[in-house]
Symmetry: C2
Subunit: 247 residues, 2 copies
């Protein structure tokens, strides 16, 4: 599978992708799912791909070839003739001089949505495990490096729960109005920062869990009783009558 996430902030853009590709659990490879297009001082763009690997590669190829042929429709990604076997998800974002930051999610059929203040990030691939931390942290005001940290925690949660998402990780941090970046890094599991994040997050989550009070079943002995105040909702009926004899 795949997990890619991209975040649009007031301060810039963050892109993160895994690189595991699998055709069944017995056939695992490593392919980059991120491609960076940069014309320093003029424009900077990043493409993230999920879905069928051959389709994703074809789409990239077509995008670049189309441009070589100077086709006019360069300002939006259009994927034509999608059919039911056409399985690909793209995230595409960046900035062109004279314009603002933009971030898009493109679906298999070629339709797309753009990130907004209310929806500042997009995910493709295995999105569920890594979504809660994004929802808790990311707003347009989040600083770039904090958002990069959040993307890495999101990726870490995903890799912990889905073996088909794996390292190395490609991370790009783009600062608004720079039209280039040096903050491009490929992280394997030996990277000291990633290792710190991975172990600290796991350990501290456990400490938070332990710090929360266990439920107490006797109302008299706790500030936060588990029992529902009378009348608030119906207790569950047990089936104990002799004519219901499953037991």
């Amino acid at each position: 599978m795949t997990y890619c996430v991209a975040i649009k902030l007031n301060a810039g853009l963050v892109f993160l992708s895994d690189s595991r590709t699998n055709a069944g659990v017995d056939n695992i490879s490593t392919y980059r799912k991120m491609i960076v297009y940069e014309r320093p001082g003029d424009r900077f763009m990043v493409l993230l791909t999920a879905g069928n690997l051959s389709i994703a590669q074809s789409v990239r190829e077509i995008l670049q070839v189309e441009q070589l042929q100077e086709r006019p429709d360069t300002d939006a990604i259009t994927i034509r003739n999608a059919n039911s076997r056409f399985n690909v998800g793209l995230i595409f974002g960046g900035q062109i001089r004279g314009e603002g930051l933009r971030l898009f999610q493109v679906y298999s059929a070629g339709n797309f949505v753009e990130a907004t203040t209310e929806t500042p990030y997009f995910q493709v691939g295995e999105y569920k495990y890594g979504k809660p931390v994004l929802d808790r942290v990311i707003t347009p005001e989040t600083p770039l490096d904090e958002a990069a940290k959040c993307a890495l925690v999101s990726m870490d949660s995903t890799m912990k729960s889905n073996l088909s998402v794996g390292p190395p990780l490609d991370l790009v941090v783009y600062e608004a109005n720079r039209f280039q970046t040096d903050k491009i890094v490929c992280l394997d599991m030996q990277n000291p920062y990633y290792r710190m994040l991975h172990s600290s997050w796991g350990q501290k989550l456990r400490e938070v869990f332990d710090s929360l009070e266990d439920p107490v079943w006797d109302d008299a002995h706790t500030e936060v009783p588990l029992k529902v105040p009378a009348g608030r909702s119906k207790p569950l009926k047990k089936i104990t009558r002799p004519d219901e004899r499953l037991i």
Copy 2:
């Protein structure tokens, strides 16, 4: 949708289910997905259901009617004539006097798996959001009330991310070799313990996140540099050549 979780511990069993049923987001109802069978001092069992509501209700009904007819196959759940439209997931567990604790997950086709020391919990329905905390906390040695707390945190994460999982929640804690329980509670969102858990978990997660160091891009100024040590993995190639003119 639905989220149900059941945990088998040395100390007993924990069962938790939501109660939201929906046929599209514009048609939401509340149905209990948990049923408790108890013959005090002799046996105690709980059934959790996910999937198509009418099928789940039919399965319960058949189980109880079959028993009324004194059919011999009472010690396993068999669901026959499953076809492709048959969408239901069950968790069934409990204890009969003279036997150990048992917990099963039953699939639509009627086949089933039993919980073990290595796999001490089962989930049905929307399982992904609530799985990480279970993986971090639950072992067979976990005390009952701590496991109940873990199940509630797992449910809370699920409800935060999937609107089709919702309150009230039905929670049962069964202590081994008691063959009955009084620890059965229906929790709505006003329950003081649940409110404490919900707000503390969210707030403390955020504190943990904030306590982790942001990445620093200059190796010279940090103990945990983000840059990959030379040679460890290949940096991502930017496309900047003039003949690759997407940009």
